[in-house]
């Protein structure tokens, strides 16, 4: 969430640019390799730009004015041409190194950030907009490359060009140098001011572009609602507003940008006029030669470009640094649910038993959703957790699969605290089927073998058959090869759940956690699935978060959660026997619904 807030603020963050740069370079040490050589090449490349005005001066003073000396002229031209060949070659080498090093380093950053987002806890992932997480590994990284390739080196080259040009000018005449600076220094000040406003204007553009994307997204994703409620007119109006306000922001930004380049242009005009006036007076005093005055006119043009580029780059650098900071900030978030890795333990083989020891859970800055839960579930048992919406029953599933860690207390599997279990052991032995069984845009087969890519089609068909879903699979247009569409949207909600269930089933876990995994499936199919699941999961431990109480009836034990506490537990028959209990009320309501 900090990241989102920062996006709008830009420079509000206290961390300095230098600190971000240092952090960034520490993260990608390969960026430093050969940096000195690259900068050296860049400086030589830049010298080529100053070579021409010097050649003009030398050529005019030695070879043209005061009697033509073609030999002297040829020498000057030949030397300059040779210098140009060398500087061009250096330019090529510099760019080649720069691009190879920066792209390689940042591809590494991209992949690391991607992995890190997956390593973050579910809570952290959900606290950010999906789009902003995606931009951490896409556009933010692109901005850093832009900066390294344009900003970093080009800025240095241009500043170098200013320095060398200044040195050459000083060598010719300090008075004329003063004239040029007198014209450009105020311009730089004005340009900097304008560019601060420009940065603000671009901030508005980005924000309105975001709003525009949101509006378009709603008109696409919400198309059925728009059509069903006949609100196309309202939607069109909102789209138009978003489109127009983005356009206005863009136009405002370009107006400021033009003002900036005009100031540079005018400064050049003032400098040229000033150089001519002062130069002529100095020349008349024999302080300056004709060639030197002429060279100055050329040198002034070398001043405009770097001044404009440098000020522009400084601005883009701000954005790029902000992008870099966002990427670094993501990488810096230590996953609050971390893999103990090598230090961790593996689960003992065989069926797993579950122990909740005085577990309390509260969302960050939120109320407590589970209070002081202590619970033992023996291995191989089938447990159902029931309760009203918001009672805290889903929290059970999330704690058990270590999507979240308890605020207090511990969860243990076969005596091993979850926090000590290596993820590769935990994830291969404990599998959860969430209510929203997300599917990847691939075939049914690819989705089912997600956890075990080595499975053959025959094994997948066998799995569907074992689950009693062979008929349903045959009914799909292309069987296992049927494409499920984006997020599985080519299938009905119930069908998606069937695939998600098969996916968990073939993963062959010792503890299966079902979080309302069949809520959108028809009752007959659900009951059939329930039966087959009972059969195929016998010998393993299952915990089902149940929405329909049919699941509870079949369980070895029912755990009733009410307002974050376990209020009842025991077999169905026992719990129903107490007519005033929470479970009895839930069950009565369920019966009312089903018969």
């Amino acid at each position: 969430m900090t990241v989102v807030a920062e996006e709008s603020a830009g420079s509000e963050r206290a961390e300095s640019t230098w600190r971000t740069l240092r952090r960034g370079l520490a993260l990608s040490p390969e960026l430093r390799v050969g940096l000195a050589a690259t900068l050296g090449l860049a400086l030589v490349y830049m010298l080529g730009r100053v070579a021409v005005p010097v050649a003009v001066q030398q050529g005019i003073d030695r070879g043209i004015v005061g009697g033509l000396d073609l030999n002297a002229l040829f020498t000057v031209v030949a030397v300059t041409a040779a210098v140009l060949v060398v500087t061009t070659a250096c330019g090529y080498l510099m760019m080649r190194r720069l691009f190879t090093v920066s792209e390689t380093a940042l591809a590494g950053v991209r992949v690391r950030a991607f992995r890190h987002v997956h390593d973050l806890s579910m809570l952290h992932q959900q606290s950010e907009r999906r789009g902003s997480l995606v931009s951490r590994v896409t556009s933010d990284v692109d901005q850093i490359t832009q900066f390294l390739q344009w900003g970093g080196v080009i800025l240095l080259v241009n500043l170098g060009q200013l320095a060398v040009t200044t040195a050459v000018m000083l060598a010719y005449s300090w008075q004329l140098t003063l004239v040029v600076y007198a014209a450009f220094v105020p311009a730089v000040v004005v340009i900097r001011l304008l560019q601060q406003r420009l940065a603000g204007a671009y901030g508005v553009v980005r924000q309105r572009t975001g709003a525009l994307l949101g509006a378009v997204g709603e008109s696409v994703v919400g198309a059925p609602v728009i059509r069903a409620y006949g609100i196309a007119g309202r939607t069109a109006r909102r789209l138009d507003e978003a489109i127009d306000s983005q356009r206005q922001a863009q136009q405002k930004a370009i107006r400021i940008s033009i003002l900036g380049s005009s100031v540079g242009e005018l400064a050049a005009g003032v400098a040229l006029a000033g150089v001519v006036v002062v130069g002529v007076f100095l020349g008349a005093d024999q302080t300056l030669s004709i060639g030197e005055v002429t060279a100055f006119l050329f040198l002034v043009t070398l001043f405009i470009q770097p001044v404009q580029i440098a000020t522009e780059v400084l601005n883009e650098a701000q954005n790029a640094i902000a992008g870099w900071r966002r990427v670094l900030d993501v990488l810096d978030v230590a996953p609050d649910v971390a893999d103990p890795g090598e230090r961790g333990r593996t689960l003992p083989p065989g069926p797993l038993d579950i122990r909740f020891a005085e577990v309390r859970f509260a969302y960050p800055n939120g109320p407590t959703v589970l209070h002081d839960v202590t619970l033992d579930i023996p291995a191989k048992s089938r447990v159902a957790v029931v309760g009203e919406t918001g009672s805290g029953k889903t929290t059970f599933a999330k704690l058990l699969t270590r999507l979240m860690d308890p605020t207090e207390g511990a969860v243990l599997l076969s005596g091993v605290p979850l926090t000590d279990i290596r993820f590769d052991s935990l994830r291969s032995r404990v599998v959860m089927v969430p209510q929203d069984g997300f599917l990847f845009d691939a075939t049914v087969a690819d989705n089912v073998r997600f956890g075990r890519p080595e499975l053959t089609d025959e094994q997948l068909v066998a799995a569907f058959t074992e689950l009693g879903l062979a008929d349903w699979l045959d009914g799909l247009p292309a069987g296992l090869a049927t494409g499920v569409g984006e997020r599985g949207e080519a299938l009905s909600v119930g069908e998606r759940q069937l695939i998600a269930l098969a996916r968990a089933y073939v993963a062959d876990p010792d503890l299966l956690v079902l979080d309302e995994a069949t809520s959108a499936v028809d009752p007959a199919t659900e009951v059939r699935l329930q039966r087959t699941l009972d059969a195929v999961t016998r010998g393993r431990t299952t915990l089902a978060i149940a929405h329909r109480l049919s699941t509870a009836q079949n369980a070895d034990e029912v755990i009733v959660v009410d307002r974050g506490r376990i209020v009842q537990r025991g077999p169905h028959e026992e719990l129903v026997a107490d007519p005033d209990s929470v479970y009895a009320l839930l069950y009565a309501s369920w019966l009312e619904q089903t018969r």
């Binding site: 691009f99 992995r115 590994v137 994703v221 119930g494 007959a524 009951v527 089903t594």
Partner: protein, 621 residues
């Protein structure tokens, strides 16, 4: 890329630019005028600098005295030129920017209008991501070359002017120009040609990298619970590596061309010095002319690159334009009719007659997937009809047809006896409402989500609808009540809350026919019972709505006056719940599944007491 294709792209790219000019002729004229003024002033400044050196600087230094009048004139001319250049920049950049942004806005409007006009069947065939980028990045890509276009046109004019002025000065120097400028031009063209396919590849890979990240983060829960982070990272790293290679190849090309483009005019300046010296000795030119020409080479180098920018952008522009056109040219509108239903509060009837429906496949070569065949039934005015059937039987499709989200392949759907295809858009929406299985919530306030700015729905009506949908409790508890923003896709609400909000949205419009597509599945049974009781009669005690409800729960079904039982897109049986329960085996299996489960459970419980638990997967059923 074969040169034939790239020439083709060039032609088509220029055609897209031509279209832009035809659509915004005036602003384009302003931009080009500014650009030509700028170009003329650049050429002029070279000659003024030359004249100043030759006529003011040289005499002053040689004579050792200053001619104040000439000097003042020179300074004024130099400064004046730069003022005119600034005027040119204003015209050019303002014109180009406004033209580009106007075209973008205009086409975004046209594309999104098409989204609203095209039928849902078209939406089904197109991925959400594609439609988003059509309206955003494709429109942007199509008009991207507009930004440097006036500059490029002005530069062409300037080049012609420069060469002409060179000939006017001296033919030998002009020949140097004729060597350097076309070479510069050719270098730019070659650069753009080679760059375009590399850029396109990088762009494509960038989209793929982003697509993988999007999908992978969307499915983060599944990735996490199955421990597939490593494999997902490998999938991402593979594509990120391809992107890296593509970007490095872009960079290498830049490394070759950028320094050459910068060096070539410098070499031209050196050539001018040599040739100029000879011509000076021959007395064909003076020092002023020599300086002018040398200066010209220095100041022209940069603008020539604008031509390269335009050419480099053309392939992307053509690709973007093609994708935008695909939306604008898409056919298959679902036009509304003219008829209106009578203004009445009485419940409406719904009739399906021999309705057949098939989804068009996403790829043309695949067969249509038939979903419904010869479906006929009626929801009489004021009655409740339940649609029951197994997963995938076509229930949601019937719900969509009833409110005309899609049109049937065959047969007709009528409301109050009028074919829904003949009804005006607002007349249908005013009378009929659908609550979908997956709730969709706008990124807006609670109030706007319920009222949708429909006329006659004030706060009181919003609260009444929320009460009916049992959503008033949680809304009242929200910090800003009705003004609470619900976030992107309603993320700040739970699934059940979102569902109740969409229910309230349907109820707020006082529909005469309400279609509920398993719309209470995320709501607890007790809450659902209360909601259904409220729906049976209107809040004001007047006539309620006719209801078509897709349901699995027996309590819901039992409320229905009639049940339609579907299997694989066909009506298998219809009648009252109790009739079907005693006659239709499939229906019995479906609806009594839970009772059967309970009976089995009890039997099994007895059974298990005498049989020890078997273990492992191989258990026989």
């Amino acid at each position: 890329m074969a040169s034939g294709t790239s020439r083709d792209v060039l032609g088509r790219g220029l055609a897209v630019l031509g279209r832009a000019i035809r659509e915004q002729p005036r602003i384009f004229a302003v931009a080009v005028s500014g650009s030509v003024l700028f170009g003329a002033m650049v050429v002029a400044s070279a000659f003024v600098v030359g004249r100043v050196v030759g006529d003011v600087v040289v005499p002053a230094i040689e004579r050792g005295s200053v001619g104040v009048g000439g000097l003042a004139l020179a300074a004024t001319a130099l400064f004046g030129l730069s003022v005119l250049r600034v005027a040119g920049i204003f015209g050019r950049r303002l014109g180009a920017g406004y033209m580009q942004y106007r075209l973008q806005a205009d086409y975004r409007r046209r594309v999104t209008r098409r989204y609203l006009d095209l039928p849902l069947s078209w939406h089904h065939r197109n991925a959400t991501g594609t439609l988003l980028s059509n309206a955003n990045s494709d429109v942007e890509a199509a008009w991207h070359p507009i930004a440097p276009l006036p500059f490029a046109v002005g530069t062409l004019v300037m080049l012609v002017g420069a060469v002409a002025s060179l000939f006017f000065t001296d033919w030998a120097l002009a020949l140097v120009g004729l060597g350097v400028f076309p070479a510069l031009f050719a270098l730019n063209v070659a650069y753009s040609r080679r760059m375009a396919p590399r850029q396109a590849r990088a762009q494509r890979l960038r989209a793929e990298v982003s697509g993988i990240a999007h999908e992978s983060f969307d499915g983060a829960l599944v990735v996490k619970t199955m421990g597939r982070e490593g494999q997902e990272t490998a999938r991402f790293a593979d594509r990120a590596g391809q992107l890296r290679d593509a970007l490095i190849s872009v960079g290498r090309l830049r490394g070759i061309f950028d320094p050459m483009l910068e060096t070539l005019p410098s070499l031209g300046t050196l050539a001018v010095l040599v040739v100029g010296a000879y011509r000076l000795r021959q007395g064909a030119i003076d020092v002023a002319e020599l300086v002018s020409v040398a200066f010209l080479f220095t100041v022209l180098a940069f603008p020539v690159r604008a031509i390269g920018w335009v050419l480099a952008e053309l392939p992307r522009s053509v690709a973007g334009w093609d994708r935008v056109r695909r939306v604008l040219d898409a056919t298959g509108e679902m036009p509304y009719g003219e008829l209106r239903l009578d203004a009445t509060a009485a419940p409406a009837s719904l009739t399906f007659t021999d309705v057949g429906f098939a989804y068009e496949p996403a790829e043309a070569h695949l067969p249509d997937a038939e979903v419904l065949g010869e479906v006929s039934f009626t929801v009489p005015a004021g009655k409740t009809v339940a649609l029951v059937g197994p997963t995938g039987a076509g229930k949601s499709t019937i719900a969509a047809l009833a409110v005309r989200l899609v049109d049937p392949r065959s047969g007709t759907v009528r409301v109050d006896g009028v074919d829904v295809r003949d009804l005006a858009s607002d007349s249908l929406a005013d009378n009929v409402a659908l609550v979908a299985q997956v709730p969709f919530v706008f990124d807006d306030t609670i109030r706007a989500n319920v009222s949708l700015d429909r006329p006659g729905i004030d706060d009181e009506a919003v609260w009444a609808a929320l009460r009916l949908a049992e959503a008033d409790g949680f809304v009242a508890a929200l910090p800003d009540g009705l003004d609470t923003m619900v976030g992107e896709r309603g993320t700040s609400l739970s699934g059940g809350q979102r569902q109740r909000l969409t229910l309230a949205r349907a109820l707020a419009g006082r529909p005469r026919l309400l279609v509920l597509d398993d719309a209470t599945s995320a709501v607890d049974p007790r809450v659902e019972a209360a909601i259904l009781a409220g729906l049976r009669s209107s809040p004001s005690g007047g006539p309620g709505a006719s209801i078509l409800v897709v349901a699995y729960r027996r309590a819901t079904i039992a409320l229905a006056d009639e049940v339609i039982y579907l299997e694989q897109g066909r009506v298998v049986a219809r009648g009252t719940h109790s009739t079907l329960l005693s006659t239709v085996p499939g229906y019995i299996d479906l609806v009594t599944a839970y009772d059967q489960a309970e009976v089995d459970h009890e039997r099994k419980a007895d059974y298990e007491e005498v049989t020890p638990l078997a273990s492992g997967l191989e258990v026989e059923r």
